[in-house]
Symmetry: C3
Subunit: 269 residues, 3 copies
C-alpha cells in the first residue's frame, strides 16, 4: 500500500503540470502575491477573484476554490460564502485554511456558514487551529501554533468525521487524514516558519492538486510533500530567510515526481 500511495502522490504532481488547473483564490492581502507566484511555479493557473458579483460565475470556470481566512474583510467573507455555494452546485473542490480561527471567534461562524450553504473538501491548518476546530484546547500565539503535535492525528480524524472532509494539520510533523486513511510526513525545514505565508502558499498548492485529481486525500499529501521537499532543497542553497524564500519558489518549479518519491519521510496508516 505504501509504495503505490507514494507513487500516486508523485503522479499528481505530473497531473498538475499537465492540466494547469485554474485555482480560484479568495485569500488574505498579506500573502496573495506569494500564493499567485507559487501556483505559477507549481504549474497551476492562479486567479484572485473576490468581487461579490463575480465569484459565483468564476467558480464555474475553476478547477478548485481556495479560501484563506487570514485578515478577512467583510466583502471577502460574503464572496467566500457565495463562492462556496457555487462550488457545491458545480462540484468544484474547496480547500479552506482557517487562519487564526482560535484567536478570532468570528471565523468559526464563517466556517459554519460555508458548511451550511456550500461545502469544504479539505481543511488545511496548523496543529493549533485543527485542534481548536476539533473542539479541544490548543496552545496558540497570534496566528502561529505552539503545539508540539501530541494528539494531532486524533484531532484530525475527529474533525474529519465531524465535517466529512479531508483534514491536514501542519507543524514539525504534518498529519493528513480522510477519516479512514492517514499519513504522517516528517519532511520539511524550520526555515519555512521564517517565511510569512508558508502555510497560505501550501493551501494554494492543495488547491492545485485537488484541482488536478479527484483523490483529495492523496492530493493533499502531494501538496504537503511538495512544499516540504522544495523547502529542504531550498535550505541546501540558502540558509537566510530572504534568499530562502526565493529559492523555495525555484525549487517548487524544479520539483519532479522522482524527487517526491525519493527522500520522503512518510508513514501511511
Amino acid at each position: 500500500m505504501n509504495n503505490s500511495n507514494l507513487q500516486k502522490a508523485a503522479e499528481i504532481l505530473g497531473e498538475v503540470r499537465e492540466k494547469a488547473p485554474l485555482v480560484h483564490c479568495i485569500t488574505n492581502y498579506v500573502t496573495i502575491n506569494d500564493c499567485a507566484n507559487i501556483l505559477l511555479s507549481y504549474g497551476a493557473s492562479p486567479a484572485m477573484c473576490e468581487a461579490y458579483d463575480e465569484v459565483f460565475d468564476f467558480v464555474k470556470l475553476s478547477s478548485a476554490l481556495y479560501i484563506n481566512l487570514g485578515t478577512f474583510v467583510k466583502e471577502q467573507e460574503q464572496a467566500a460564502i457565495l463562492a462556496s455555494t457555487s462550488a457545491k452546485i458545480h462540484n468544484v473542490p474547496v480547500v479552506l485554511d482557517p487562519v487564526a480561527c482560535a484567536a478570532v471567534p468570528k471565523k468559526i461562524q464563517i466556517i459554519n456558514r460555508i458548511f451550511q450553504v456550500g461545502k469544504i473538501d479539505v481543511i488545511k491548518g496548523n496543529i493549533g487551529e485543527i485542534k481548536f476546530l476539533a473542539g479541544q484546547s490548543s496552545n496558540v500565539k497570534g496566528v502561529d501554533s505552539l503545539d508540539n503535535g501530541e494528539g494531532a492525528l486524533e484531532s484530525c480524524i475527529a474533525l474529519s468525521h465531524k465535517y466529512n472532509c479531508v483534514v491536514a494539520a501542519t507543524g514539525e510533523k504534518d498529519f493528513i487524514t480522510d477519516g479512514k486513511n492517514s499519513a504522517i510526513i516528517e519532511n520539511g525545514t524550520k526555515m519555512l516558519t521564517k517565511v510569512t505565508g508558508a502555510g497560505c502558499m501550501l493551501g494554494a498548492l492543495c488547491g492545485a492538486t485537488c484541482g488536478a485529481d479527484q483523490d483529495k486525500f492523496t492530493a493533499t499529501v502531494t501538496a504537503i510533500l511538495s512544499m516540504n521537499i522544495a523547502g529542504e532543497e531550498a535550505f541546501k542553497k540558502a540558509t537566510s530567510p530572504g534568499s530562502f524564500r526565493v529559492k523555495l519558489i525555484d525549487c517548487i518549479y524544479e520539483l519532479s515526481e522522482e524527487k517526491l518519491r525519493e527522500g520522503t519521510k512518510i508513514t501511511w496508516k
Copy 2:
C-alpha cells in the same frame, strides 16, 4: 524611419531616469508591491493613492495615472473614475490595463465610464483582452490569454480607432499602434509568464514612460522593449521563476539606452 524611431524609444528611457516621473497607481492588491518596486528600479517614483477623497488632487501632482482593473473593489472603481476626470482636466496621461475584461462583464462598464467622464491615452492588455475590447471573439483562460496573435494587430488598430488612443497587445509577440503607426516586438522570454504580475508591472512602466514623454506611442514601445529586454537578460542569469523575478528587477535597473537599441527585434509599420 526605423532607426530614428528606435533611437527615440531608447532616449525615452533616459528621460525617465532624468525626470523621475511620479506615477499615480490605482491597481490590484496582488501585484501592487511589484509595481512599486519595478517603478523605483526603472527610475520613476511610484505613489499608490486610491482613497476617494484623495485621488482628484493627487492626480494634479502626478506625471501619469496608471489604472489596473484586476481585483477591483468598489472603492477603487469610484476612485479610478474620479481620478480619470482629474487626469482629463489637468492633462495627465492615463494608462489602463483592462485585466480580465473578457471574463468579467462589469469591467467593460468601468472602461466605458472612464471614457465618458475622463480619458484613456494608452490601453495595454494581453491579446485576448484587446481582441475582446475590439469586439471580436477571443480565447481566454481566467486572466490569461491563450490567443496566438493572429489578427492581433488588426484588433489593436480597430480598438485604437474606436477609442482614439494608443493600444498595446502583449503575447508571444507584442503589438503597439496609435492607429496610424505600428510596431511589432519579438523580444522577451516565456519565463515572464511564470511571474505573477508581469503584465501589471509592464503597465506601470508604461505609466513611467508616458509620464516622461508626450509621444505616447513611442513611450509605450519603450516600456515594452524595457520589460522584454530586461526579461531576456534576467533569463540568462536565472532560469527558475523565483530567482528570475529577482533578476528581472535588477535588469530593469541595469537597463541602458544602448541595451534597448541593440538586440531588439522590432518591426515598424
Copy 3:
C-alpha cells in the same frame, strides 16, 4: 554615556530574539508582506489584524501596535483608532508611521484622533513628514521627502514636546529624540530608497524593539541602526535593487549585537 547607550541599543536586538515580541500591524497593502517578512527575519512575530471587531482584543495579546497610514482605507482608519484606545488602556506601546501626511490632509485628523482617544509612543517618519507635523514647511514629492536634513533635529524635538513621545526622522541622516536625549545616525545606503517600503519595514522593526524593551528612545535607535547596518551589509553583496531587497532580509536575520556595536556612525546628544 555614549558607549553604554550603544551597548543598551545592541542588547535590545538580543531581547527581540529572546522574547519574539508579537507585533500587531495595521498597515498599507503595498508593503504588508515585506513588513511581515522582515519581522520574522528580525526574530519577532508579526500579526496583521485589522478587522474592526477583532482589533481591540488582539491588542491585548500583543507586545506592540504598529500603525502605518499609507493607503489607509476607511475600515483601517476605524480599526487603528479603536486599536489605539485598547493600547492606551492595556499599556501596549504604539508606533506610528504618518506616511504622506503632508500630501494628504485627512491623515492629520486621524493622528489627532488617535492622540485624543488612544496614544502614540513613537512617531517614525521621513524628514518631510516630521517637519510638516512639527508645523513647519517641508519639501515633499508624493510620499517621499526631498528635505536635506537642515533643522531636522529641531523639528523632531519640537514634535516630541508637542506630543510627548519619541520622534524619529529618517533621511540621509536619521534623527531620534525623546525630547531630552537625542541621537543622529549616519549609517545606511542610498539603495534603501530603491526598495519600496523600506520606511514601512523600519516602522515594523520599531514595533519589535519597543515590544521588547520599555526604553522606547533606545529601542527606536536599535531599530534604525538595524535597518541601516543590514542595508550596508546587503549592499556589499548586491548592488541592484531586486537582489538588494532579498539580501536586506537576509542581513536582518544575520544581524548580531556585535555588528550593531561596530561600524556604527552615531552621535548622542
